[in-house]
C-alpha cells in the first residue's frame, strides 16, 4: 500500500527474512489503564520467553486510551505497515469495533485478550478477528447465575454506564435474570453524584446490585450506596477487574464482587513468579490472556508463517493449551464456550481475591 515508511515494507519478502512487528493497542493510559496494562505485560513476557533464532520480533504498543476515535488512526498505521504481522487487541470492545474492518481490509490478524462485546463476532463478522474471551451473552448469564444462585438474590437492581461496554453487558444480565431483576437504571460516564439512582434503590429494596461499567464511576456509586445505608451485595463485570478498583473505592468497597471470564492464576505457578520478577507485581487483569495471545502469534512464526495470509491461516486453525484456557477458535473467531471459566473475585482489603467459579 502507499504511505508506508521508508523502512521499506518487505511485504512479500518471506523466506529467510523474518523481521516482524506485533502491534498492541489499548488503553495504556487513562482511567482504565489498570485493566489493560497487565495483559500487555503478559504479552511482553511471552515475547521475552520466546526462543527462536530465525526471527526478530518486536512488540509495538499503541495507546488508544480505550477511545475508538483515537484507535482508528493507529489501526490505519498498523494496516499500512507490512512489517506488522499481527495485532493483539483491542482491549476494549469499542475500539475493537471501530478498527476491525480496517484490519480486515489489510488482512491483519487480531487476537483480542479481553474485548467481550457480543456483536464483535456475531455480527458483521470479519475473518481476521479472534478473541480469547467468551462474549457477553455468556458473561451476562454467568453473572446472572452468580447473583441468583450464589447470592440467592431475587431482587437485583441493574445499573449500567450507557456506554459501549456496560450497556450491552447489563442487557445480557437483565435477560438472564428475567423476573429476578427489580429495576434497571442508567448512569453516565463521568458522573459522580448518584443520588437519583440511590433513591431508586432505596425504594426498590434490592438484595443485590449489579453494575456494568468501569472503575471510575463504580467507586463513587458504591460509596454513596453504603453511605445511604444500602448493604446489598455489589457485583460488577470485568470492567472493574483492575488493581485500581480497590484503591478508588476505599473501605466502602469491602466485599464487592467482580466477575471476570478469566481464571485465577495460581500464586505458585511459574508464570506468576516470572511475571512478578519481570514487572514487580503479581499478574493482574487478563495477564494470562495477554500472554496467550502473544504466544499464538509466536507459534505461527515458529510454524513458518511469514505473511499476513499465512498468519491468518495458522491462527484460524490453531489449537493448543494456553495459560488461561484450552485455546481454539471457531469460525467466528471465538474460543469454544466449554473451554472458558468464569470466576467471581471478592475485594478484600483492596485486592481482588478469587472466590468461586461460576457456570453460565
Amino acid at each position: 500500500a502507499c504511505g508506508t515508511t521508508d523502512t521499506d515494507g518487505g511485504g512479500d519478502a518471506s523466506g529467510e527474512d523474518c523481521n516482524f512487528k506485533i502491534g498492541v493497542m489499548g488503553a495504556l493510559s487513562g482511567a482504565n489503564a489498570s485493566i489493560v496494562l497487565p495483559s500487555v505485560d503478559g504479552a511482553e513476557l511471552a515475547l521475552k520467553q520466546w526462543e527462536n533464532d530465525e526471527c526478530e520480533v518486536t512488540m509495538e504498543k499503541f495507546d488508544t486510551e480505550g477511545d475508538p476515535a483515537k484507535a482508528t488512526p493507529v489501526a490505519t498505521q498498523i494496516a499500512g505497515d507490512e512489517t506488522f504481522i499481527g495485532v493483539m487487541g483491542g482491549a476494549f470492545s469499542g475500539e475493537t469495533r471501530a478498527t476491525k474492518s480496517i484490519y480486515a481490509d489489510a488482512g491483519v490478524t487480531m487476537v483480542s485478550q479481553s474485548a467481550t462485546a457480543t456483536d464483535l463476532t456475531q455480527e458483521d463478522q470479519v475473518d481476521v478477528f479472534h478473541r480469547l474471551v467468551p462474549y457477553d451473552d455468556y458473561q451476562g448469564a454467568a453473572i446472572a447465575n452468580y447473583l441468583t444462585d450464589e447470592l440467592g438474590a431475587s431482587k437485583v437492581f441493574v445499573v449500567d454506564n450507557s456506554e459501549a461496554y456496560g450497556e450491552p453487558l447489563a442487557d445480557r444480565v437483565e435477560e438472564t435474570l428475567g423476573n429476578a431483576m427489580t429495576q434497571r437504571d442508567k448512569t453516565e460516564v463521568g458522573q459522580t453524584d448518584f443520588a437519583p439512582t440511590i433513591s431508586k434503590m432505596e425504594s426498590a429494596q434490592p438484595d443485590a446490585v449489579f453494575y456494568g461499567g468501569y472503575i471510575a464511576e463504580a467507586a463513587p456509586l458504591l460509596k454513596q450506596m453504603r453511605d445511604a445505608g444500602i448493604d446489598a451485595p455489589f457485583v460488577g463485570g470485568d470492567g472493574l477487574y483492575g488493581a485500581d478498583f480497590g484503591n478508588a473505592v476505599g473501605p466502602a468497597g469491602e466485599g464487592a464482587v467482580v466477575m471476570c471470564p478469566c481464571a485465577p492464576i495460581a500464586e505458585d505457578s511459574t508464570f506468576a513468579a516470572d511475571f512478578e520478577e519481570e514487572f514487580g507485581a503479581a499478574p493482574g487483569a487478563y495477564a494470562a490472556e495477554g500472554y496467550d495471545a502473544m504466544s499464538v502469534f509466536l507459534a505461527a512464526l515458529d510454524d513458518g508463517a511469514r505473511t499476513r495470509e499465512e498468519m491468518e491461516e495458522f491462527v484460524d486453525g490453531y489449537t493448543g493449551e494456553g495459560l488461561s484456557k484450552e485455546i481454539a477458535f471457531d469460525e467466528n473467531g471465538d474460543v469454544p464456550k466449554e473451554n472458558v471459566s468464569y470466576w467471581a473475585y471478592k475485594n478484600e482489603g483492596g485486592t481482588l481475591v478469587p472466590e468461586v467459579e461460576v457456570k453460565p
Binding site: 437504571d185 442508567k186 437519583p196 433513591s199 463513587p220 466502602a252
Partner: protein
C-alpha cells in the same frame, strides 16, 4: 417515564437536587465574578476547583486522619482542609490570572483569546495532576479515581416529621455552607466599598480608575474570591463524594458555568438560583427517566429559560443602555 417515582419522593429528590446544586452554585460564583468584571469566561476555573479537592486529600494525608477519628480531630482536620483548599484554589486562580491572563490584558487581547488561553491553562492543570505529578511522585496522582478518606462520616441528624425525610449531617453542612458563603459574598460585593469598586470596573474600567479604583487590585480580588469559593465547593464535594480525579473539574465546571448563565451571568444571586435550579432539574430528570438524560435535560432547561429571559433568570446585573 416514571412520574410516580418523582412525586412519591418529591421532597427527597428536591433535597438531593439542592445538595447537588449547592456545589454547582459555589463553583458558578467564580465564573460569574470573573465574567462580570472582565467579560470573559475563565475556562480554567473548573481546575481551580479540582486543585481544591486534591488539597483536601493532601491535608488529610499529611494529618494522617481517616474515617472514624474523634470528634475534635474531625472538626480540626475539616477546618484545616477548608482553609487549605480555599487558599490553594484562590492561589491557583490568582496564578492563572497572573501568568496567563495578565499578559493578554496588557496587550489588549480580544475575549476569544482569553477563552483559548483558559482552555490551555485548564489542560495544563489537568495534566499536572494526571501526568506531571505522577511522573515525579507516582500515585495517588495519575488518571485514576482516588479515594479521599471520609473523615466526616455521614450520620443521620434528625428526621423532618410529617414528610419523613431524614437529614444527615453532611447535607446540612453542604447546603448551609454554600448558602452562607454566598450570602457573605453577595453582601460584600453589594454593600462594601471594595465591592462597589468591583462593580464599577465591571461597567467601565477607565472611568473606574478615574474614580480612584485600582483596576488590577479589583481583578485580583475577583479571582481570589472566586477561587476561594471554589475551594469551599471542593471541600463540600469531598465531604459528599469522597473521591477526586485529575479531570473531575470538567463536568462540574461545565455545569457550574451553565448554572451561572441560567441565573444570569455576572449576577451573584443568579449563580445561586441557577445552581439550585440546575441541580434540581437534573435530579428530577434522573428520577423520571434515568441519569443518562440528566445532561440533556439541564441544557434543555437552559435553552427554554433563555428563550423567555435572554439574560438569564435574574438578568445581568449590569443594565444595558441603548442608542
Amino acid at each position: 417515564m416514571d412520574f410516580d417515582a418523582l412525586f412519591s419522593g418529591l421532597d427527597r429528590h428536591t433535597l438531593d437536587g439542592i445538595t447537588r446544586g449547592s456545589i454547582y452554585a459555589l463553583v458558578a460564583l467564580g465564573y460569574t465574578m470573573v465574567y462580570g468584571v472582565m467579560k470573559l469566561i475563565n475556562f480554567a476555573h473548573s481546575e481551580v476547583f479540582m486543585v481544591g479537592t486534591w488539597t483536601v486529600l493532601g491535608v488529610y494525608t499529611v494529618l494522617g486522619v481517616s474515617a472514624g477519628a474523634g470528634l475534635a480531630a474531625v472538626i480540626g482536620a475539616t477546618l484545616l482542609a477548608l482553609i487549605a483548599a480555599m487558599l490553594a484554589s484562590a492561589g491557583t486562580a490568582l496564578a492563572v490570572e497572573r501568568i496567563a491572563y495578565r499578559p493578554l490584558r496588557k496587550k489588549g487581547a480580544p475575549p476569544l483569546i482569553f477563552l483559548i488561553t483558559g482552555i490551555g491553562c485548564s489542560m495544563v492543570l489537568v495534566e499536572t495532576f494526571g501526568q506531571v505529578l505522577r511522573f515525579f511522585f507516582g500515585p495517588p496522582f495519575g488518571r485514576v479515581t482516588v479515594n479521599i478518606p471520609s473523615v466526616l462520616q455521614t450520620r443521620d441528624l434528625f428526621t423532618i416529621p410529617g414528610v419523613d425525610l431524614t437529614i444527615t449531617n453532611t447535607r446540612v453542612i453542604i447546603i448551609v455552607g454554600a448558602i452562607v458563603m454566598m450570602l457573605a459574598l453577595d453582601t460584600f460585593v453589594n454593600k462594601s466599598r471594595l465591592g462597589r469598586g468591583v462593580r464599577a470596573v465591571a461597567q467601565d474600567p477607565d472611568t473606574a480608575s478615574l474614580m480612584g479604583v485600582n483596576q488590577n487590585r479589583v481583578i485580583m480580588l475577583v479571582f481570589v474570591l472566586g477561587g476561594a469559593m471554589a475551594g469551599v465547593a471542593a471541600l463540600l464535594y469531598t465531604i459528599q463524594y469522597d473521591i477526586t480525579k485529575f479531570d473531575i473539574g470538567f463536568i462540574i465546571g461545565l455545569k457550574a458555568f451553565t448554572a451561572a448563565v441560567l441565573g444570569g451571568i455576572g449576577n451573584l444571586r443568579g449563580a445561586l438560583v441557577g445552581g439550585l435550579l440546575l441541580g434540581i432539574a437534573e435530579v428530577y430528570a434522573s428520577t423520571i427517566w434515568s441519569s443518562e438524560w440528566a445532561n440533556v435535560t439541564a441544557f434543555v432547561v437552559l435553552v427554554v429559560v433563555l428563550m423567555f429571559r435572554p439574560t438569564g433568570l435574574l438578568g445581568e446585573s449590569l443594565g444595558k443602555a441603548r442608542a
